[in-house]
């Protein structure tokens, strides 16, 4: 009896824990979207193997598109989650900051000539310079938030509005185009590898953040600061510094995302590159079940949230939704997902589940 109960409870417990876990939310969202697509058109899930215009093998299909285009968002979601946790607010300047760091990459690669024959600097140098620049801008936001105690949305507004002008200024308002094929690998495919490179980059970022969260106090500290900055100060933390550093880390994420973005087109358009991406990044954090007012977070839920958003976008494209309403549809679906996963509703669901198996549940408490 005991042992039998045990295994039963394991299942019950697992689902119970899942109900409580944050990652439940994006998982349910993903399931719902998948089911929807399965019903409407199962070919959504078909992945085909073929050769691209250069004769290299590539995987293609909607799923690949999601992994590909969702990657920048996933990378941004990492930083945005930390900023949200520590500062209790969001950075609305990430789109503009991507424009800046992308512009820096092109500037370093192209030098003063906007359409150079050869690269003026190694790609890695360009990337590193853009990292430094993006982190400096992150530090600027972070200083306003952490040391001047300005609310994040207001503080980052400055870069949000000024960023794209700065990006244009970096390249003298010109539109540099990089012709080096290697540069385009980062936003496309590395010859021989059939998986889109942005996804690789995103995976690398995820591994790094996972290691950082596992082996350092970053996660704990930023949550503590976000939950109660006063008490965490009394406990010997430095809340201002934690907030500051979270913006710097977001800066790094921005640099990576910006690098992918410019590599995709080998060029840049200052006014539209990564437009509205801040909204998607914030949504990813929210869809991950994280409170936008800071505190506890789940990084994996945020990242999954980012891919769910891309999944949704791709689905909507595929559905040929009355397109002017696309973003409205997107918002509606996100809201529905968030409602379904709202604590109130989740509790109800969890109770319902309990009721369905009253015996086991009671037995489990013995």
């Amino acid at each position: 009896m005991k042992t039998q109960n045990h295994t039963l409870n394991k299942g019950t417990d697992f689902i119970k824990t899942l109900f409580k876990k944050q990652i439940f939310i994006p998982i349910v969202a993903l399931l719902l979207l998948s089911i929807f697509n399965l019903i409407v058109d199962p070919s959504f899930f078909k992945v085909t193997y073929g050769l691209n215009s250069n004769g290299d093998p590539v995987l293609s299909g909607y799923l690949m598109t999601i992994l590909d285009y969702g990657s920048e968002l996933a990378i941004l979601a990492i930083g945005m989650t930390l900023v949200t946790a520590a500062s209790g607010g969001q950075d609305i300047s990430v789109g503009a900051a991507i424009a800046i760091s992308g512009s820096v990459v092109l500037r370093v690669l192209c030098g003063t000539d906007s359409r150079p024959e050869t690269l003026q600097a190694p790609i890695i140098v360009a990337f590193l310079v853009s990292c430094v620049v993006a982190m400096l801008f992150g530090a600027f936001n972070g200083t306003l938030v952490a040391y001047f105690k300005i609310q994040p949305m207001v503080a980052t507004l400055i870069l949000f509005t000024a960023g794209r002008s700065i990006a244009a200024w970096i390249n003298n308002n010109e539109l540099p185009i990089v012709s080096d094929p290697v540069f385009s690998y980062f936003g496309g495919f590395i010859p021989g590898l059939p998986i889109p490179t942005p996804f690789f980059i995103a995976v690398v970022c995820m591994i790094i953040i996972a290691l950082v969260l596992k082996f350092t106090n970053l996660g704990l500290y930023s949550q503590a600061v976000g939950i109660n900055s006063k008490s965490s100060q009394l406990n010997g933390l430095n809340p201002a510094f934690m907030k500051f550093i979270s913006f710097v880390i977001l800066g790094l994420c921005v640099a990576v995302a910006g690098f992918i973005k410019v590599s995709r087109l080998s060029s840049i358009n200052y006014s539209v590159i990564a437009k509205d991406i801040e909204m998607d990044a914030i949504l990813a954090v929210a869809l991950g079940g994280n409170s936008l007012s800071g505190g506890k977070f789940s990084m994996s839920a945020s990242i999954l949230g980012a891919y769910v958003i891309q999944f949704l976008t791709t689905t909507l494209y595929k559905m040929e939704v009355q397109s002017e309403a696309l973003s409205a549809y997107k918002a509606v679906v996100v809201i529905i997902l968030v409602v379904i996963s709202a604590p109130v509703v989740r509790e109800k669901l969890s109770k319902l589940f309990k009721k369905l198996r009253p015996q086991q549940a009671v037995g489990g408490e013995d």
């Binding site: 082996f215 350092t216 500290y221 503590a224 009394l234 406990n235």
Partner: protein, 506 residues
């Protein structure tokens, strides 16, 4: 600095807007002593500690530490920690959304790299060794206040420190826990750790402390050796006047004679709430003072929350004056003449940014209705009346309540409910963090109100206090009522027996 001194604070001044919290205060702490810091609510004890640990910057004065030539400048709690000063602050300063283990180690793990497995294991051992009934992976907010307090203490004592500061650590602990804490303190003392101990419980001071420093109105009254300062004198030093004898306030208080034929003011049958409390029956007559007693986490608070409709009610019947009513949310209870002072003052009581005045009138205002706000004059009159009545120390009625001392915040919340003049008042740990003088005043007030016909449920972790005020006690264990005591049975021994399960009044 003298030989044997670990810490010396000299001529400390600290002003807050409109308040002179500390004026020319000296404080000396010797090696291996337990030093009590005493004073009324708002005397400046917590402020002195916060100045010492760098939470507040002092306006002037100097702090010396053993082994340092010059005065040290402690700018932040981190600095204090680094200098070997470990502190448990009065308001629990842990993060409710983090786990117990995380709370135990946050801010004090060395280096940037940590291994959570080891941390959890260490936490488990620490909790075990102190006998704290909590799981390292449990979320802190799901622990009762008392456990939270124990966790905070565990965290502080686990640090390698030379000076340990405990600001009212025992305010929500019961005797059992207190005994454990004292054993721990003695152990540390033997190791040469110096302890600063703030409390309002005189017995506790005489039990563990070596020296006493008394503050009054932000000024130093003096430093005394415990042996040389009898209780009565200590009290008069704290209050600046003599206090009537504490004992026997019950016997000479008036007794309201309730008519047995009138139905109880409040009666609950098989009441059960979503918080996990077992269905219970309960009733209280007009003019009666009764109480719930039990160990920590026995469900006392949950019972009264159910009565007030603060938790979701799942079943049961409620009658007010014999008439069946439905109480599903606090406003229903309030409309039926019930008042409830919650135990967790910070989370459930105060509205931090609002002024003392607004905090006082809030409940009455809500009862009165949305469209009938009090005029400024009315609100001021109410606030002034109760500030005076309870002796609330505040710069003005406009001060945000969060800048009051802990005890004074408690008084404000008490004032809030007294103002509504309820027929039935529930007080969950109303004297927590209240100084001796006021505590007696509150007990007297409770009895006086009862004699005027108010029914009161009084919950306290101090059995003494319960015995002084209550005429009937309901004993709880494991979220069940397990007994009821009244009349002759109301003795310390009997209560302890019943709590422990030996009672026969089930």
């Amino acid at each position: 600095m003298q030989e044997g001194t670990v810490l010396e604070m000299r001529n400390i001044y600290k002003y807050f807007p409109g308040v002179k919290a500390l004026q020319d205060v000296d404080f000396t702490l010797c090696e291996g002593e337990i030093h009590a810091l005493m004073g009324e609510n708002g005397a400046g004890k917590s402020t002195l500690i916060k100045v010492l640990t760098g939470v507040y910057s002092k306006d002037s004065g100097e702090v010396f530490l053993k082994g340092r030539e010059k005065a040290v400048n402690i700018k932040s709690p981190q600095d204090a920690q680094k200098l070997g000063i470990s502190t448990v602050y009065q308001e629990i300063t842990l993060c409710p959304n983090l786990t117990v283990a995380e709370n135990l180690y946050i801010g004090r793990t060395k280096g940037i790299f940590i291994n959570w497995k080891i941390v959890v294991r260490d936490a488990f051992n620490l909790l075990q060794s102190l006998g704290i009934p909590a799981d390292p992976n449990q979320q802190l907010s799901s622990c009762s206040i008392a456990v939270q307090q124990m966790v905070a203490i565990a965290r502080a004592v686990d640090m390698e420190c030379k000076v340990l500061i405990l600001d009212e650590p025992t305010s929500s602990l019961d005797d059992h826990e207190v005994a454990k804490l004292f054993a721990l303190m003695r152990e540390l003392k033997a190791k040469g750790v110096s302890i600063v101990f703030v409390t309002h419980f005189l017995e506790q001071v005489y039990e563990v402390c070596d020296k006493i420093t008394v503050l009054r109105d932000g000024k130093l009254v003096g430093e005394y050796s415990v042996k040389e300062l009898p209780r009565v004198q200590l009290v008069s030093k704290m209050l600046g006047k003599d206090l009537d004898d504490l004992s026997d306030i019950k016997s000479d208080s008036l007794k309201y004679e309730a008519d047995e034929n009138i139905p109880p003011v409040f009666e609950a049958e098989k009441l059960v709430s979503a918080s996990g409390i077992k269905p219970f029956d309960f009733s209280i007559r007009k003019g009666e003072v009764n109480g719930f007693t039990g160990l920590l986490g026995s469900g006392r608070s949950e019972c009264v929350r159910a009565i007030f409709g603060a938790d979701k009610i799942l079943g049961g019947k409620v009658k007010i004056n014999g008439r069946e009513v439905k109480i599903s949310k606090p406003i229903d209870a309030m409309k039926n003449g019930i008042g409830y002072l919650p135990e967790d003052r910070k989370a459930d009581g105060i509205i931090g940014d609002l002024s003392v005045r607004e905090n006082i009138i809030l409940a009455l205002q809500v009862k009165k209705g949305f469209f009938k706000p009090f005029t400024k004059a009315q609100a001021n009159a109410f606030a002034d009346e109760y500030i005076k009545l309870l002796g609330i120390k505040t710069a003005s009625a406009d001060t945000p309540i969060k800048s009051l001392s802990g005890g004074n915040q408690q008084k404000v919340i008490l004032a809030r409910w007294l103002l509504t003049n309820p027929e039935y008042l529930i007080l969950d740990e109303p004297t927590r963090g209240i100084d001796v003088g006021t505590k007696i005043d509150i007990q007297k007030l409770v009895l006086k109100l009862a004699s005027e016909g108010m029914s009161i449920t009084f919950i306290s972790s101090e059995i003494d206090e319960m015995l002084r005020t209550c005429s009937r006690l309901i004993v709880m264990r494991d979220r069940k009522t397990v007994g009821e005591l009244d009349g002759e049975d109301l003795t310390q021994n009997m209560i302890m027996n019943t709590i422990a399960g030996g009672g026969n009044n089930v």
